[in-house]
Symmetry: C2
Subunit: 235 residues, 2 copies
DNA sequence: CCATTCGTTCTTCCATGGAAGATTCCATGC
DNA sequence: GCATGGAATCTTCCATGGAAGAACGAATGG
């Protein structure tokens, strides 16, 4: 692992590709993939040489990541990749429950066209989940499940809610990957998704709220004991 | 307005007072007080000289403020103090509704001691609201109301929820100040607060959720038309 | 053998200078 | 009078150097 992958400026008609953005994306990817494992402590200097840039853009990218809660910078000692304790995962799930329930409610309150269009997209994602499951491709299932939940918040019409959901989802990514192989085959998810889609399609905000909430609550109640059982100090 | 107020390092046993933190606090205060009005566009250089420091810590503070959504930095053109449109206030309220309802629910699910202690604090804040109202001191009322809602999220045991609530509350501060004098005397708030406190004290998460939510929903439904009526392009 | 002190080294923090992009405004041409 | 071109000026963006602080280890004293 000599160097970190830099986002390629593939497009010749280069858009706003600043070094800070590059460093931010590369670091986030490295954290997600556990190339930088939780608890790892490195220096900005080291990251800078790996990315082939100077310390400044790395420093600024790390500020962003710190605000978003992915890393902590320990004064004069380096940057720490935040490990997740069980309580962190619990907190994250509580946020997700609140945010997605609200998003589903808002989505179900939009116009018929918007609801219908969103419901179609959600249905496609759910179908992709089932296909992944049928082929025993858990990675594909997880990706489609992610897409479903991302769509739910993207289409609700509240950008702040979307941003919050993305931030906590990023934090939870490692825990999600860990439990993916530990839990039993997630066959009930598709059913819950379809029930939610129906409430959205027919425009019932209250029912959409309840179903989105119940779906995430049961996910939490299944995953938290699982994480506790494996007894990891942190993820 | 020659210079911005810098947070004084009054305490001689100086804690971790970095220039970045100073700049961050000073800028946030200046934005809240509309010393930097919404839509204002300034340069980091200008802010740096006003604060009596170099450009670097100002630049880094601005990155933090940008992530939190208070400012936007326009490449090579300066930093913009984000104005709030009606839709922004709507978004913010939707977030607050979801977050506070969850916080109230969590709080009502804590141990009897924690609930009781929190309920006492919430009751004190509510009493302060009534006193402010009795003396026609709207500023005092608003401060106590802020304290109530801050306490609610502080005591729920979820740090991420707290951080989210603080971020959106910061964004909404100007709108709140604007509508404070426009709306009718907020006499019903104290009653709603007491109902919520009772649900918390007696440990009813579902009821606490509903009451916290209803309280913020009615606030939104009162304030949004008010803002629309004054017809401000942005706040 | 253990505790303490001091020096070395590594880190972030902050200042500053140069580069490149965006805007403004004035001169020029028609 | 009006559009156009271009220079001057402003801005952020990035690199780099020095300063201060934290951690580590070796030398020293008991």
């Amino acid at each position: 692992m000599i160097e970190l992958a830099r986002a390629e400026p593939a497009e010749p008609g280069n858009r706003r590709g600043s070094l800070v953005d590059e460093a931010y994306a590369a670091l986030k990817a490295a954290i997600r993939s556990t190339e930088f494992p939780p608890g790892y402590q490195g220096s900005e200097q080291e990251i800078a040489v790996r990315l082939g840039m100077s310390r400044t853009p790395v420093h600024e990218a790390i500020i962003r990541l710190q605000v978003e809660g992915l890393v902590r910078v320990l004064s004069k000692r380096g940057v720490l990749i935040c490990p997740l304790a069980l309580d962190d995962v619990r907190e994250i799930y509580e946020v997700i429950i609140a945010v997605e329930a609200m998003a589903a409610e808002l989505l179900a309150g939009l116009s018929t066209e918007q609801r219908s269009s969103a419901a179609d997209e959600l249905e496609a994602a759910t179908a992709a989940m089932e296909q992944g499951l049928a082929q025993d491709d858990l990675a594909a299932w997880a990706e489609a499940d992610d897409a479903f939940h991302r769509l739910l918040v993207e289409r609700c019409g509240n950008g702040r809610l979307l941003r919050i959901a993305q931030t906590v989802t990023d934090q939870a990514h490692r825990a999600r990957m860990l439990t993916l192989r530990l839990r039993s085959r997630p066959t009930r998810s598709a059913r819950a998704h379809r029930a939610l889609i129906e409430a959205i399609r027919s425009g019932e905000p209250g029912e959409a709220h309840r179903r989105a909430r119940a779906h995430r609550v049961s996910a939490r109640d299944e995953l938290l004991p699982l994480i506790e059982k494996v007894g990891l100090r942190h993820i």
